[in-house]
Amino acid sequence: MLSAIYFFVVGFIVLNAIIGMVTYVTLLERKFAARMQSRIGPYRVGPHGLLQPIADALKLMMKEDVVPRTADRAVYNLAPIVFLLPCMLIFATLPFAPGLGVADLNIGILFFLAVSAMEIVGLFMGGWGSNNKYALLSVMRAVNQIISYDLPFVFVALVPVLLTGSLKLSDIAAAQPDLLHWFIFYPVLGQLAFLAYIVTTLAAENRVPFDILEAESELIAGFRVEYSGMKFALIQLGEYAHVIGTSFLGALLFLGAWGGPGPAWLGPLWFLLKAMFVFLLVTWIRWSFVRIRVDQILAISWKLLLPFSLLLLMATAVVVAW
């Protein structure tokens, strides 16, 4: 009973922390993009636009909730929740500092990868349930893309697992006690794996240049074209939660998680900073490339990334065994 209450409380805190973070990460991205494009970005709501995310959230809550007449109502209404669920669940196994987290499973990374791949179910429900041709094309692309990119994503994420010898996320973090032992500094393998991780992350998060399922210049808004108000907000929340989740995972797998100078209680802060570094790296790519076409995306995945990540995994296995 007590442990149930404990998990409930911790889960509640983490969930709310994630939602708060998502709102402010959008502001960070908007400010960062604005600097890249030589503009100022949100500035009017609150000092330096700091209240902008709250204004956005309020606006979305007050929007009319439109359901298309021809939509498959049950599927359409359920989709945002089904989409949001795995995006939030990925934080369940993520430790933010030694012993600080909801549940440090001994197959933590496997859980993370499995759950994050499940978001496609919600996506597909949304696209199918909307009964819109743009949405349908969008989810057709999404299924293709996510199936193609989950394989290299898993292979790349397994490189640190092989180097550590454990699937437990806290073990992987503990295996990188100081700067020199961060897996990104592991000779050759580490850098290549991190590079591949960033690319596959972009694809898994559906961001430009791999955002073909949103593709607003062709498909308007892709699978969420018919969503409005809070349902749209939930989808947006899920997407950003997924982005933050993979950024944290990247920081944990390659950048030494909570390791950093100063006392141990600064750990979560270091972890957050590193995750934001990964996030901004991805954002930087996002705002400097044009979108590529669906067939090119699949070609990159199957002809380049998959063999590359497989070779990387094999090379790591050989190095570890040797």
């Binding site: 030589s38 094309l137 062709e218 308007i220 490339f289 090119q296």
Partner: protein, 386 residues
């Protein structure tokens, strides 16, 4: 066209499962109000029907009911992205019928205005094209904002010259309405130097970007024969390997005085059209510099002191005047009956003719390429529908 697309095309209509999809008239990348009815086989476009006319404003009828003094400011509304060129075409047609001389200074000022307009128009083209390919939430938006920044500088120059930023009314029958203000030439030169440098930045940014090349090279190929058959003009025609530029073929407004290159690319794909326009940027800058250097003194209009709107009367006759606009040949056919208003007026919009290329080059490409090809054609629907 890849092999798979070719197969799909050969299957013709009635293949497996076809999807008819409406792109427009309200669509983020339709550059105005354009409706393309796409027939899709999976992601591949099998057929495209273009529907136009959503922005029809009776321009030719307006031309008959407004006087030669009034209409130039309305003419700029046909192609609102390159307003100077349609004004110029209209007043030139009237001048040809009336055999009205234009002072050398006015001719040079017209050239400066036309070339600045080409720069502004190409800026908007590059920005929106990248926006189409890269998305409003991605790298495309970055290029778009950079381009808009350069365009603002040119619009500032126009504002100092005419007082307007979009629809100018600079031209009048017999010359131009406004002379350049003091210090304007200096400001203009500085802006040209700035944009010259920025264009190199754009080229560096885009041409070293593998994804940009993947989206443009070999996409939407229009062969030389097709280009001539369909009757496209401007950068599209030159991108397909035809060396034809009205400024060179049939010089007007003293274009023969200036030294400039007419860029020609043979590939005929989106990238070739992009290259042609990028070189045109530079050539336009060159022409503006030359025109400012050699700007003769003298009057700016052979008909100074036009006081009332009905004062300009053109004798009976008819003429077709054409100018090289940012998008191609902009032509105006006027029939004058001796009164203060034309008897009949007809526009030849460059975008309208260029749009005819779409059904020939889109089939066989993916949905994503449709917007890339549309953007490379650079239609302005004010000019298509008029």
């Amino acid at each position: 066209m890849d092999l798979e697309s070719r197969k799909v095309l050969e299957m013709g209509y009635g293949g497996a499962e076809r999807l008819t999809m409406n792109m427009g008239p309200q669509h983020p990348s339709s550059h105005g109000v354009f409706r393309a009815i796409l027939t899709l086989e999976g992601e591949t476009v099998v057929a495209v029907d273009a529907v136009i006319g959503y922005l029809h404003r009776c321009h030719e009828k307006l031309g008959e009911s407004l006087t030669y003094t009034q209409y130039p400011s309305i003419a700029s509304k046909t192609d609102y992205v390159a307003a100077m060129t349609s004004e110029l075409a209209y007043v030139r047609a009237a001048e040809i019928i009336g055999k009205i001389d234009v002072p050398k200074r006015a001719q040079y000022l017209r050239v400066v205005a036309a070339e600045l307009q080409r720069i502004a128009s190409h800026c908007l083209w590059l920005g929106t094209w990248c926006l189409d390919m890269g998305g409003a939430l991605g790298g495309g938006a970055t290029v778009f904002l950079y381009c808009i920044r350069e365009r603002e500088d040119v619009l500032d120059l126009f504002e100092a010259l005419t007082g307007a930023r979009l629809l100018y009314g600079l031209h009048q029958v017999g010359g131009v309405r406004y002379d350049i203000p003091s210090e304007w030439a200096k400001k203009c030169r500085a802006t040209m130097d700035k944009i010259d440098g920025r264009i190199s930045e754009f080229e560096e940014m885009l041409e070293s970007n593998a994804f940009f090349l993947a989206r443009t090279v070999g996409i939407g190929v229009a062969s030389r024969e097709l280009a001539q058959e369909v009757g496209i003009s401007g950068p599209l025609l030159r991108g397909s390997g035809v060396n034809y530029d009205i400024r060179r073929a049939e010089p007007y407004s003293s274009y023969e005085d200036f030294d400039f290159k007419v860029p020609v690319e043979d590939a005929g794909d989106c990238f070739a059209r992009y290259r042609v326009r990028m070189v045109e940027f530079r050539e336009s800058i060159k022409i503006v510099r030359q025109a400012l250097d050699g700007l003769p003194a003298g009057p700016i209009s052979s008909r100074p002191g036009v006081k009332s709107v009905g004062q300009v009367r053109i004798p009976k006759g008819e003429a077709y005047a054409r100018v090289e606009g940012a998008r191609g040949e902009v032509g105006c056919y006027l029939i004058a009956d001796g009164s203060a208003k034309p008897y009949r007026m007809k526009w030849r919009g460059a975008s309208f003719s260029n749009l005819a290329l779409l059904p020939h080059i889109i089939p066989g490409h993916k949905v994503a390429d449709v917007v890339a090809i549309m953007g490379s054609v650079d239609p302005v629907f004010g000019e298509v529908d008029r």
